[in-house]
């Protein structure tokens, strides 16, 4: 059973966790910008957050009756959301699909939204404290 205060923070907590996970993925893309055959990866944030909020991050999966059946994209998951490969606009000759402009932009965007979530949580904390102290 989740208390009322719990449910006040639940959404932003899930969002913050997902933002941190996404930040890690983008950092790994930037780190591997010069690695041959590396494919840039990311998560679909909106659907990942929806999955996290609906309780079960794992959507209905197709039954795999053989080892040779393909799984979700790269097979990795972040909080139940599948990690997907980015569609490269200009893949390099060495098979690397990291586009530094895209990654830097996404990194800055994600960092800002992370900070926004932090502020929302701080605001909620202040609201709760104000209610408690009168």
């Amino acid at each position: 059973m989740s208390s009322r205060i719990d449910s006040m923070f639940q959404f932003h907590q899930a969002a913050l966790n997902l933002r941190a996970a996404r930040q890690e993925l983008i950092a790994s893309n930037i780190a591997n910008a010069d690695t041959p055959h590396y494919k840039a990866r990311d998560i679909d944030f909106a659907s990942a957050l929806q999955g996290a909020m609906s309780g079960d991050g794992s959507k209905l999966q197709m039954a795999a009756t053989s080892d040779k059946h393909l799984g979700d994209a790269s097979g990795d998951t972040v909080m139940g959301a599948p990690v997907l490969y980015r569609n490269a606009l200009q893949p390099s000759a060495d098979g690397n699909t990291v586009d530094m402009d895209v990654e830097r932009a996404q990194f800055a965007d994600n960092a800002l939204r992370y900070e926004a979530s932090v502020r929302f949580i701080s605001g909620r904390t202040k609201a709760v404290l104000a209610a408690l102290q009168g």
Partner: protein, 134 residues
């Protein structure tokens, strides 16, 4: 926690890029070395990057898998008076291409800077997270 993992990821990338810069420095320094400890002229070297996974995290780091020698032919210079000249009067100079090396150097330094930025952003986010509730 994901944000702490970024330090591992960016750190590994910085190590790899500085190793690449090291190799570039060695190539440029030895661009005129007609003989080495084995009596042969210096061969240009290149690093090979590879993705490396950390236990229990989705993001991947980088490591230098190997350092390979450039197999392109040596530059032959006609100088019969040179002590290393062969029977026909040609001296074998290292197959270092200064233009390639300079490009490599700039690329390595930019990638290094990118990873420093990523690390700084993550640090700022972590510090912001610590202020929740204050």
């Amino acid at each position: 926690m994901s944000l702490f993992n970024i330090f591992n990821i960016s750190g590994s990338a910085m190590t790899a890029q500085s190793q690449r810069l090291n190799v570039v420095a060695s190539n440029l320094a030895n661009a005129e070395s007609t003989t080495g400890p084995d009596g042969k002229p210096y061969h240009a070297k290149q690093v090979v990057f590879s993705t490396t996974a950390f236990d229990g995290q989705v993001g991947a780091g980088v490591r230098v898998k190997e350092i390979v020698e450039d197999t392109s032919p040596m530059k032959m210079m006609y100088d019969p008076n040179h002590p290393m000249a062969d029977a026909k009067g040609y001296v074998a100079l290292p197959n270092v291409n200064p233009v390639d090396e300079m490009v490599n150097m700039i690329s390595a330094s930019r990638s290094y800077q990118n990873n420093v930025d990523v690390m700084n952003t993550s640090k700022a986010l972590l510090l912001k997270t610590l202020t929740i509730g204050q």
